[in-house]
């Protein structure tokens, strides 16, 4: 099961457009068409404000006020679902819960026993390197630590589709590399479909099967790049660096 | 109504715990447990319910049939009758009471005539109001010539003591203030004749009376006994001491009843004077726009229980009767 890519459990966006009410500006998203196969790893890159977070919110089912169609696993997306997880750009931890409790938030409705939940939480707190901080409240954490709690929360209930909105933005190179590796490991072993929004093109190249480059005003898909580099890939790899430079040069240097 | 319970509403705040009151045969009856004793053999309990909202609140309770009997003043009962309450007046309880006009000790108001343009406290809707209005009328004034402020008993006292008003029309509670040097009583309406007095009574709901005539008789008889005890000059000091349990000191009662025979004040009789007073209250109320349609006292009084009580107690000749103008009937 884990190795067979089931087409009908993939994600499909057809003509998706979005406009904020009362806004006479151009639409935030315009006619987005995109198909993501089950188990695929897709990254989205694009200028600040081009609509990446908005798109993830639509896919997550957090905002139903759009035109077009979004299907996941053969069914229309109308609301949120435990099979679709999301790591928000801002961490969105509950200020009144400590680290462990914040991670456990994701498991409240999971079909697990209490002990299993506790173990899963413990594992994921460790996964993001926060052992010893289980009893800390959000205001006692550094920016990167809070982001890691959010990542742990996103991963802990193993959704079939995980949407990640710049999850590593606030992390130092070392922590970041470690978490990238963990993410890759989980993706490979569990074949979770992943959609990663990142501003780090190298990260996108390292992790993705395909990279979607979005353009701004209105937000739309500019290019979709297949990353055919063999896996496992590493940060130092020549191919990785080369593709990254190509993409940056083509899409991110107009103004300089 | 629960036949094992008699509920008597009292149009006074009451004082103490449990609350008691003073200044009327009904109060004596309560303090001496006469009604309770009379009904004990039938295992009927008696509940005395005191209404801070005085007469008007009693009317609400009557309308809802939450009480069976009420001790109430003349005007509030007229207001109730005008608005369709079905009651019968059983006996008088505390009649020929006056109102007093009090001013701060250093005030130069010497009498009612000086009130023109002054701030004067009156407790509206109670039987104090009409008497005050009539007092004003006798002095060629109306409420419009003064700046009238609606003050209840407590507020009136405080306002007077603090000179927040220039004068108040109030009852016997003013005597205490006068003794404390906080007020000076400059006018007593009873000096101006019986048309300037207020009356009070015990009434019963018609429905209740129809169903429990025997109980009504027992209650009336008990109160008449209390009236007799309260009218006995030999009991004067004991009576005031008894009423003092309600918080009003004996000295105040002494002042209130000075120069007056107790028999005059505590008579339960439904005589021509009483009927005439109630009719005139009803007429005045209409004239002053306190009620919207005329009220007749015809058929309102139900003297048969009183007569029976007087007969059984052999008191038919105990109290003097007065004619409509207040003169004793020979």
């Amino acid at each position: 099961m884990a190795t067979v890519i089931e087409q009908d459990s993939g994600l499909t966006l057809r003509h998706v457009s979005k406009r904020f009410s009362g806004d006479d500006a151009p639409p935030v998203l315009e006619r987005i068409d995109l198909s993501i196969a089950s188990g695929e790893f897709v990254s989205i890159v694009g200028a600040s404000g081009c609509g990446k977070s908005t798109l993830l919110r639509l896919i997550a089912g957090l905002d139903a006020d759009y035109d077009g169609e979004i299907d996941f696993g053969g069914a229309r997306v109308v609301t949120t679902d435990l099979s679709r997880g999301i790591v928000f750009q801002d961490h969105r931890l509950f200020p009144w819960l400590d680290v462990e409790q914040n991670v456990a938030v994701a498991l409240r409705n999971a079909p697990l026993s209490k002990a299993e939940k506790a173990r899963a939480v413990k594992e994921h707190v460790a996964l993001v390197g926060l052992q010893g901080y289980e009893r800390h409240y959000p205001h006692q954490l550094s920016g990167g630590m809070a982001q890691r709690v959010a990542i742990a929360r996103g991963l802990v209930n193993r959704p079939r589709l995980l949407l990640l909105d710049e999850p590593f933005g606030a992390l130092d190179a070392l922590t970041r590399a470690r978490l990238q590796l963990e993410l890759q490991r989980i993706w490979e072993s569990e074949r979770i479909t992943m959609v990663l929004v990142t501003h780090d093109v190298e990260e996108a190249v390292l992790l993705s099967d395909r990279i979607v480059v979005m353009q701004a005003r209105p937000g739309r898909i500019g290019e979709v790049i297949d990353v055919t580099l063999p896996r496992p890939r590493k940060l130092g790899d020549r191919g990785v660096g080369k593709l990254r430079d190509d993409i940056v040069e083509t899409f991110f240097t107009d103004a300089i | 109504a629960d036949p094992a319970l008699v509920r008597i509403g009292v149009a006074q705040q009451g004082s103490g715990d449990p609350p008691t009151f003073g200044g009327s045969p009904a109060a004596t009856a309560q303090l001496q447990h006469r009604v309770e004793d009379a009904l004990q053999s039938e295992h009927v309990k008696v509940e005395w319910i005191f209404f801070k909202g005085a007469g008007p609140a009693v009317n609400e309770a009557l309308a809802n049939k939450q009480i069976d009997f009420a001790y109430q003043g003349d005007l509030p009962s007229v207001l109730g009758r005008a608005n369709g309450l079905k009651t019968h007046l059983l006996l008088a309880s505390n009649v020929r009471a006056g109102v007093y006009l009090a001013v701060p000790p250093d005030s130069d108001i010497k009498g009612v005539k000086d009130l023109k343009g002054k701030r004067v406290g009156i407790f509206r809707g109670t039987n104090l109001q009409l008497v005050a209005d009539n007092v004003l009328k006798e002095n060629g004034l109306t409420e419009r010539d003064l700046r009238v402020i609606n003050l209840d008993t407590a507020a009136a006292q405080a306002a007077l003591a603090s000179k927040g008003v220039d004068a108040v029309f109030l009852d016997y509670s003013l005597f205490k203030l006068q003794r404390q040097g906080l007020a000076k009583i400059v006018y007593a309406s009873r000096d101006g004749g019986l048309q300037l007095t207020r009356q009070a009574h015990l009434l019963v709901l018609e429905d209740y009376e129809r169903e429990h005539a025997e109980t009504v008789q027992k209650v009336v008889t008990a109160v008449v006994q209390a009236a007799q005890w309260s009218s006995d000059e030999a009991n004067r000091n004991a009576l005031f001491a008894l009423w003092a349990k309600s918080g009003v000191p004996p000295e105040s009662w002494q002042s209130e009843y000075a120069k007056q025979p107790l028999k005059d004040r505590n008579s339960p009789l439904i005589d021509p004077f009483l009927v005439a007073r109630y009719q005139s209250v009803a007429d005045d109320a209409l004239r002053l726009n306190l009620i919207r349609q005329p009220v007749s006292v015809n058929g309102w009084f139900e003297p048969k229980y009183l007569d029976q009580a007087l007969k059984s107690l052999k008191l038919e000749a105990y109290w003097p009767r007065f004619d409509a103008s207040g003169k004793p009937i020979a």
Partner: protein, 271 residues
């Protein structure tokens, strides 16, 4: 924003008639309850569920209302009450924000004052009356004072809460830009506390309005509260209800105004 509304996508079920019907239902919704109450009232009066002396029929109440309006009495009472409410409520809110703000800003002051404040606010209007009548008499100042006192309590407490709830992060921003204490209060603490204070102010208005009635009950010769009391003393409950309707209507309008004001003050916020 409220809880998950489970909205379906825009174009799902966009049958025009359906939408129009829904729109009408939505507009009518707030009237459902009052209309139901009115119907109950009419029926209750007709079939005598409650004694008409206690709950007079609506027709009579509106008749009384009309008469009051026609002979001009209504306007006299109205303006008397409005003046008292405005002065007392306005003063109470100002002082409440001031006091709550001071307590919110200084833990020391709070330690000295809050316990006494807590004890003092537990003494009801009716408890203060005998004293205040002696101290300030029974004129308008007494009414202003008591109404102001009623408004003060909720405003003080919610201002205190709002001030305490100001995000520390934002205060630090102000500190970086060397905001004076005054600037921090007016530019950071106050705006961030506005929603909480707003609730307090609306509650204060409710309380002030209630107190108005109590105060006018005890010592006055004009005002809507007086009208209620007078109606009750005359056992004319139609007069009481007429006055109650006006009190409710004014209160409602004022509450809406305060709400709109509050919304204007926190424009831009997500909810």
């Amino acid at each position: 924003m409220l809880l998950p509304a489970n909205r379906t996508s825009k174009r799902a079920g966009s049958f025009v008639t359906h939408d129009v019907l829904r729109g009408i239902g939505w507009t009518a919704l707030p009237w459902l309850l009052p209309v139901a109450c009115a119907v109950l009232w009419v029926l209750g009066a007709r079939y005598g569920w409650i004694s008409p002396q206690v709950l007079p029929p609506p027709a009579l109440v509106f008749e009384t209302l009309g008469a009051l309006a026609k002979n001009g009495e209504l306007w006299m009472h109205l303006s008397a009450s409005m003046t008292r409410a405005a002065v007392g409520f306005g003063g109470g809110v100002l002082l409440g924000v001031l006091l709550g703000g001071l307590l919110g800003l200084s833990r020391t002051l709070e330690a000295y004052v809050l316990p006494s404040f807590n004890a003092i606010v537990q003494v009801p209007v009716l408890g203060w009356l005998p004293f205040l009548m002696i101290v300030v008499g029974i004129g308008e100042p007494l009414k202003f004072l008591l109404i102001g006192h009623a408004a003060l309590v909720p405003v003080t407490l919610s201002t205190l809460q709002g001030f305490r709830g100001t995000p520390r992060g934002l205060q630090e921003v102000a500190s970086v830009y060397r905001y004076t204490r005054w600037q921090v209060i007016t530019r950071v603490t106050l705006p961030s506390a506005i929603p909480v204070i707003g609730t307090g102010v609306r509650l204060a208005f409710t309380k002030a309005w209630l107190t108005l009635v109590v105060v006018e009950l005890v010592a006055s010769s004009e005002g809507l509260g007086y009208l209620i009391v007078y109606g009750r003393q005359l056992f004319q409950l139609d007069l009481v209800l007429a006055a109650v309707l006006i009190v409710g209507a004014i209160g409602y309008v004022a509450d809406r105004l305060l709400n709109a004001l509050e919304r204007k003050l926190q424009r831009g916020r997500a909810n």
